[in-house]
Amino acid sequence: MPSAAMITTPKKSNKILMAGNKAIAEGAILAGCRYYFGYPITPQNEIPAHMAKRMPQVGGCFVQAESELAAINMVFGAAAVGVRCMTSSSSPGISLMQEGISYLAGAELPAVIVNICRGGPGLGNISGSQGDYFQATRGGGHGDYRTIVLGPASVQEMYDLTFAAFDLADYYRIPVMILADGVLGQMMEPVVLDPDRRSRSDLPEKNWALTGAKNRPPRVIKSLYMGEGELEEHNLRLDKKYRKIQSQEVRYEEYWVDDANLLLVAYGSSARISKAAVNMARKRGIALGLFRPISLYPFPSAALAARAVKIGRVLTVEMNTGQMIEDVRLAVNGSCQTFFYGRPGGGVFDHEEIFQYCLRLMGQA
């Protein structure tokens, strides 16, 4: 075991070069995550590798589970006793975790789950992909529930949003998913570490956590409601929580939108590439703009609709055959034209490709 002297605290405003997966691990550690459970799968192995090294240094615990099912249930147990904990995996492994995620949602437990998405369906490949958007934003497992889903587009955001995920999980008692992909997980970028960052001050006390029953009645964590009307009441309470999240936790970025006459909508890796396409267009005097959802659930429907209706044409760009476009269409609700450009199965487009597609749409190619 490492000695206390080995504990490395990054210097204030330390800007260092870091891979996305490592930034997620560091963001979690900064947020006070001290329990990590996971199972090997590419392209996210750097997260458990970094957690394995760092957890003992910060007084935490790393467990390599025997399967993803074990890992998510270890998260379930750690969350139930009130500690900050997380797991990470990639697409097929996240599918295996869905039963546990549904139970976490039902039992209203805070936890952070990272999906460094790869190409699917099935085993697919290990290339970056956005094929898990539906699974992530529609709950993924069985039952009428949602999880908060955050889609970082840079290594800095992987660090920042992972930190934010722990606060959101505790505030709303909900599983929060970081939905990134193999490209973001593997690439290196400068990250400004912020060791002084603290959690929001209004986090509720964990008066539900299983901490022993000395001088008080025992607490129960469950997602089983068999009594007449109990489950309906429980679901309505969850729905009320989801509505609050929809009204308060929307995150998005707008880029060159004010005078745009074609609005690109993209998140994560495809948003980075779309941003480069917008830059390319702007240099040639072509008015492209970008709307980037950061919270994928809650989806920034109102903000997108307000912008889209002014511009009149929206192009959704995804590394899949069209998933987020359903949320885009629901958001704009017929108020403007919607188009789609995508590459599935781990195929990644470049900015030139998107730029050329935009030119064709605008009748300039």
Binding site: A49, K53, Q64
Partner: protein, 289 residues
Amino acid sequence: MLSREEYHSGVKEAWCPGCGNFGILNAEKRALVELQLAPEKILIVSGIGQAGKFPHYLRCNFFNGLHGRALPVALAAKLANPELTVIVHNGDGDCYGEGGNHFIHTIRRNPDITCIVHNNKVYGLTKGQASPTSDKGFKTKVQPYGVIHEPLNPLALAISLDCSFVARGYVGDLQFLAELIKAGIQHKGFALIDILQPCPTFNRVNTFRWYEERVYHLEEDREFDPKNQLKAFHKALEWGERIPLGVFYLHPKPTMEEQIPALAAGPLYRQKIQPSKVLDIMEELSALS
């Protein structure tokens, strides 16, 4: 007369130079030639991991499915078509970790399947994490302070479950390994062959040299009797300075397929659906209504 070439798939192997999997492929081809088992009569089922790639490199029917789930797939395939020779190829992480539950329950069911485990005591495909069979203290980039858990002993576990054939091979002893694979395929019932193989890339501890200094054949012990479960269990616990190879335990018993009456008339896929057989039930139901 089937030659070795009949089993070449022509697909280039994506394993590191020096990987023990080449030895397993070699030994299996040798066994299949000696048994004269036609490629079309064989179904190889694999999961995910370096061992999961195995059937791609052998000319036969194959199913490359989910991580840890090769055994349930193989069991159902064997039930649907007992005429197939079903061989499962999975790794230590695949079979004993992710698929550990299936391993236990497939042994209980005793289908006539040969389960070959490529045991290199490390995860290769995901680049070097400790596996369920890694020894205590084994260091990797994900276990930088060394493994703190007891390793899983697949042979002792299988013997405790009264598995009908339990053996251990070693890729450094190819002719012996080929004989074990032959015996496993010929055995009627669930046959586990755990194969010790070095991983030159991610396991620098359990190397060829490490094994060469330790392995010996169970046959050298004249008093050893593979029909004695307790003695077999005792032998399975031997690990360290000396590592036994060979057939540890043999208990012939009825297979799962033999105990399912519907299969007596031949494989399900060949049986015709006979609506007349359900007429009695339909009459019974209509009498109730």
